[in-house]
Symmetry: C2
């Protein structure tokens, strides 16, 4: 039996069952970060995310954008938990015939993204590898009570997000399948979404401090997968009545006869925040933050994830980006 | 200009100069770990080390030993700093056609090594890659005053080590160049040294608590390189009068007409502790620990590293394992 036959998630589950669990680790393998209890209510929070040439590098990415994105993909997990990162380590693997200037640009990407998100790249390791591999580890400290887990959503909670969906799907169609954008603006926005993605760190930190979020998850494997995972872990369902989709996604979908909701639901590497909120908590959120929040649906008791938009009702499928099984 | 033309250390230096330094990081790029000041004298300590198929995996390594070694190589850096690790994260990259049982065995290797060194593997990331890549990150907390840096050696200090040298060089000759061992015992000890290396964590922790070590460094790039690095960073030299070399190294050297001191000096991946001690501190070290310590020389003012053993005097060359430049 090969890894590609069982896929990423079953492999993770097998590894998890083999390891000895730390009784002071409070998040478990099913969340976006690990978190170790220290003293007096403090927890150490850490997360690691690797980017490899074969799985993650899209045509047209510059080394600067590769470095930048390798920071953002780690910051995004901390944003979803409401944890401020302190710094990162990187292990960088590459073949010996890579240009030195290429590495310089990766380092500038690290520097610029680190500066943007208020953290430091402290150091790391360089090693020879058959392809480019950037393995980032992000570390921070938090108060245990401030950490927002994937578990916690209850029936009646609102489903919400910060950020939009669909642009990365367009970028994959454009860059990997050659389906051209109808105009320069659509092309630019789609490329920006995958070359220089944005993590909603400030927003995630503010939300966590307000104690209004009941569950939250990093959205890097796609919106549909994120919603299904939150439902599965919380033993609930969701009705989704609204998805923030930029006009460029509708334009592109129209051009190629694609379904914009498909593009929004089954993309990936969109580092939007997806979370659930107590229904009566909206009035506790400052207006400036509330303006960024899209209420997209509500938590239900039946365990389905349904889309009900513009009179169209359909099931949201439980699929998303899975290493070894998905193919971009 | 390619990475292989300039080598690992100049690449690290270029990256370091590109990044913005954290004013609260106290070790700098030149040490074995990074360390971030927290509050009340506590520091966060972290280190990352990647193992790739092309650079690190020797013929005959089992997946269990690969997993085990990927923990040990990280623990070793903490041992040299006197820091107790709390846990590790792993990013595991591999091609989809790897057997699931192979991954299970890597996880068992992680579990067994973690148990041996009293830490936990908390979690990590799985991704598709062209070759097997294990990127481990180890994290701990320490009192700032307990951390042993590479800097601190002074003229007159003793040079010491815990652990022996030369077996990994034999293993490379055996496994990579086909120079056979003269007997089964030599073969077994050499293979054990590279398949299941040992980190001297307990010893490193005890030494740090005694406050007798003036400088210390992980020895994974070879003894000669370690001595030279400590000298360079401390602006001193060393005279080495004794190197602990197992009898098997002498047997193997004799069989193949090799120089046992060459084997001991220019190996690598020997996770021995190499450190300097205040000359008057030996009486403060408990007998049980003292028995493990080999005094191998002393720190001098001239900036050379010399070997003076059995009437033979020679310079120790400043070479060791460097990614992209060295070839096993």
């Amino acid at each position: 039996m090969k890894v590609k036959d069982v896929g990423e998630w079953r492999i993770i589950d097998r590894i998890w069952r083999t390891l000895i669990r730390d009784p002071e680790e409070i998040m478990g393998f099913n969340d976006d970060v690990v978190s170790k209890r220290l003293r007096k209510g403090w927890v150490l929070v850490a997360h690691t995310d690797a980017l490899t040439e074969i799985a993650d590098i899209l045509p047209g990415m510059t080394p600067h954008s590769i470095g930048f994105k390798s920071v953002v993909m780690n910051v995004s997990d901390f944003a979803s938990k409401g944890v401020k990162p302190l710094g990162m380590l990187f292990a960088l693997g590459m073949p010996g015939d890579v240009d030195v200037s290429f590495v310089d640009e990766i380092a500038r990407g690290w520097r610029d993204a680190a500066k943007k998100y208020g953290l430091y790249v402290w150091g790391g390791d360089i090693t020879e590898a058959r392809e480019l591999v950037l393995c980032g580890t992000i570390i921070g400290l938090a108060r245990e009570g401030d950490l927002v887990a994937r578990k916690g959503a209850r029936e009646g909670d609102l489903v919400a997000c910060i950020g939009e969906f669909g642009l990365t799907s367009i970028a994959y169609f454009m860059l990997l399948e050659g389906l051209r954008a109808p105009n320069e603006r659509v092309e630019r926005r789609a490329k920006e979404a995958v070359y220089y993605p944005k993590a909603y760190l400030k927003e995630g930190l503010k939300l966590a401090r307000l104690k209004v979020v009941t569950s939250s998850m990093d959205c890097s494997d796609g919106l549909a997968w994120t919603l299904h995972t939150l439902c599965y872990l919380n033993n609930v369902g969701m009705v989704i009545k609204n998805i923030p989709i930029p006009s460029e996604v509708f334009e592109y979908a129209k051009e190629h006869g694609l379904d914009p909701y498909e593009l929004a639901l089954y993309g990936g590497e969109e580092y939007a925040l997806v979370f659930t909120l107590k229904r009566d908590s909206l009035n506790r959120i400052p207006k400036s933050l509330l303006r960024e929040i899209h209420i997209i649906g509500e938590v239900t008791l039946d365990k389905r994830v349904r889309l009900e938009i513009e009179g169209v009702k359909r099931e949201v499928e439980a699929r998303g980006w899975e290493h070894f099984k998905s193919r971009k």
